[in-house]
Amino acid sequence: MSATMISLIGSLADNKCALGRRYGEWAVSAPTIESAVAAAAMAQDELGHARSTYPVLAKLGVERSDDGLDAGHPLGVISSELPDWASFIAANLVVDGVLTTFVASTRDSSIEPLAQRARKILQEEGAHKVHAGAWARRMGQVGGSDLELLVQRIDEMWASVARWPGPDDHPGYREAMEAGMVAYGPAEIRGQVRGWLTQLVPGISLDEPTDWSDWDDQLRR
């Protein structure tokens, strides 16, 4: 099995676990009762996705524990509590956006257990995208400091999360594409998320990462 795919699947589960925890922390302090309920529901979804994704590794012969909420090595931007609501929405847009776009690339994966889960995850992620989009539009309409902070948080998250898929010419990723494990590569993932976000949020410009000199293909950061 491709080491790249094992890294991607394990990191996907780790990050979904962390994202679920971050969402859950806002379930009692979101700015509206509706968003508090949404935060709880999305937390439940993400933890369920993590719990269902770890067994894919086992099916590929890789032993990984999913014990506890702090398993694995998630991205730094979601490793600790999100400091403000703009960070929550930025995570909803950028982290959820990149991870879900990767999952979409595995919908018809030759790794059948992954493909099966992808279809269910994508069904559930539809509501997350609606939530993120609605809040981005709302903050965009309000403008002012709310929008400025959202743009800052998106920029901060993008700088880290855009690197998660890795360089577009990564040999392991190319092999995974050729073997039908994923339908498209890192640049396409970033491009799809960038296209969505730049239409949604005025004033952001999300660059393609260029410096991969310190990138770790196991930690994916």
């Binding site: 439940q44 979804d45 993400e46 719990r51 099966q116 889960r117 279809r119 269910k120 069904q123 559930e124």
Partner: protein, 105 residues
């Protein structure tokens, strides 16, 4: 009545802990097969959500219900996510019951 028919009947008495509708009515059971040579029931199940907090309770209840059959010594349950559960999997009797409970379906 065949063993398999009895097992389906047993499953009709296993309710979702959150909604008083059976796992059969909810459309959670993807397949059920009785392996006579091993006196084992093989069941594939899906859930409405990957984060469903009742997944383990439901599997325990199913296991208990099937093991109550005199011809079953073992139950093998596999959780699957394909087919993806949608409201289309609800049976008509379950829809009726849910509407009676004020749940929109």
């Amino acid at each position: 009545m065949t063993v398999e028919a009895r097992l389906w009947e047993a499953l009709r008495h296993v309710e979702d802990p959150e909604i008083p509708v059976s796992v059969v009515g909810m459309g959670l059971i993807v397949s059920l097969a009785y392996v006579e040579s091993e006196r084992r029931a093989d069941l594939r199940i899906t859930f409405t959500a990957m984060g469903c907090p009742a997944m383990e309770f439901i599997q325990d209840d199913i296991r208990d219900a099937l093991l109550a059959d005199p011809d079953v010594d073992g139950v093998d349950i596999e959780v699957v996510w394909d087919p993806v559960w949608t409201k289309d999997r609800l049976r008509d009797d379950a829809r009726t019951r849910m509407r009676e409970l004020g749940i929109a379906v």
